[in-house]
Every structure is written in structure tokens, then in C-alpha cells.
């Protein structure tokens, strides 16, 4: 009996974990007022672009796209 209860609770834990990983749209943990994580990426003209290079100079709009050739 005790074993069955244990087995059942293990099963439930797995189900809960699986449900927690549903492919729902991820939401950012960042909040307004947080420091934007810095990054360096290569642009479409092979230039290295670093977010912190704009610090003290410009506001930056980071528009994340699902994939290239998507709308918005």
C-alpha cells in the first residue's frame, strides 16, 4: 500500500512537471525598470552591435521577431 501511494505521488509529480512545461508562450521575467541584459550580435551587414554601446547616447527599441519574414 505504502509503495502504491509512493508510486502514485511520483507519477503525479511527473504529470505536474510535464504540465508546467506546456509549450505556452514564454513570458519574460524582466520588468520595466530593470537593467536591459547586454548583448553583442551581428547585424545584416556583418557589423557587431553591442547594446551597451548606445548607453548614454541613444534610446534603443529592441524589436524581437519570431523568425525572419514574419510580420509586425
Amino acid at each position: 500500500m505504502r509503495r502504491k501511494v509512493f508510486g502514485l505521488s511520483v507519477l503525479l509529480a511527473f504529470v505536474a512537471a510535464a504540465l508546467a512545461q506546456q509549450p505556452t508562450a514564454p513570458r519574460t521575467q524582466l520588468k520595466v525598470g530593470d537593467i536591459a541584459p547586454d548583448f553583442t550580435l551581428t547585424d545584416n551587414n556583418h557589423n557587431q552591435v553591442k547594446l551597451s554601446d548606445f548607453k548614454g547616447r541613444k534610446n534603443v527599441v529592441l524589436a524581437f521577431y519570431v523568425l525572419a519574414f514574419t510580420g509586425g
Partner: protein
């Protein structure tokens, strides 16, 4: 992309840099930017590091969610929009003080 490009002069005038980011390869982004006539940089986050840092990476599907972050000159996030609302750049305009200029 088109929306931002259409109003790029306004962003420029308000001292704001627009950066497009996708998880596609550089060549795909270059082709995309060229097709749309985009003049602002389109960055390739092929390694998915930035989308993970920003918490918008969809592990299951392997691509990022649509999102827009506005970062001020101090490097502080001033506006976050996610999902379908991020497609409309109005929020980004407002965060940049461009709301009145858009209307």
C-alpha cells in the same frame, strides 16, 4: 519591420535606435531586410542567447516570441510588450515620447 521602417525618421529624430532581432541566420536576415527595404540593423541571435536572456525563447518550438523592449539611454527597460500587441509599435512610440507625433 515595415512599421518601424515607415517611421524611422521619427525614431532618428528622437535619438532612438531601432534594432530588429530574429533567431535566423545573418544571410536570412539580410535578405529579409533587403526585401523590406529596412535601413536599421537586423541582428541575428542564431545561438538564442539573447532571446533566452530576455526570457522570450520558446524552448519547445525553438524560436522567440514576438516582443518589443524599449531601453532608455541609461540602459533601463522602459517598456515591454509581448505577443500580438508587440506587432503594433504604438507602445514603443509612446515610450519614446513619439505618441503625439504618430497621431
Amino acid at each position: 519591420m515595415r512599421q518601424y521602417q515607415a517611421d524611422i525618421a521619427k525614431f532618428d529624430a528622437s535619438n532612438t535606435q531601432v534594432l530588429g532581432i530574429s533567431v535566423d541566420s545573418g544571410p536570412a536576415n539580410a535578405h529579409w531586410a533587403k526585401e523590406l527595404g529596412v535601413t536599421f540593423p537586423v541582428l541575428s541571435d542564431f545561438m538564442r542567447t539573447v532571446v533566452k536572456d530576455y526570457g522570450i525563447y520558446n524552448e519547445v518550438q525553438g524560436y522567440a516570441n514576438r516582443a518589443t523592449f524599449v531601453v532608455d539611454k541609461q540602459g533601463i527597460i522602459r517598456s515591454i510588450e509581448q505577443g500580438s500587441t508587440a506587432i503594433d509599435p504604438t507602445g514603443a512610440y509612446e515610450a519614446c515620447g513619439l505618441a503625439e507625433k504618430k497621431k
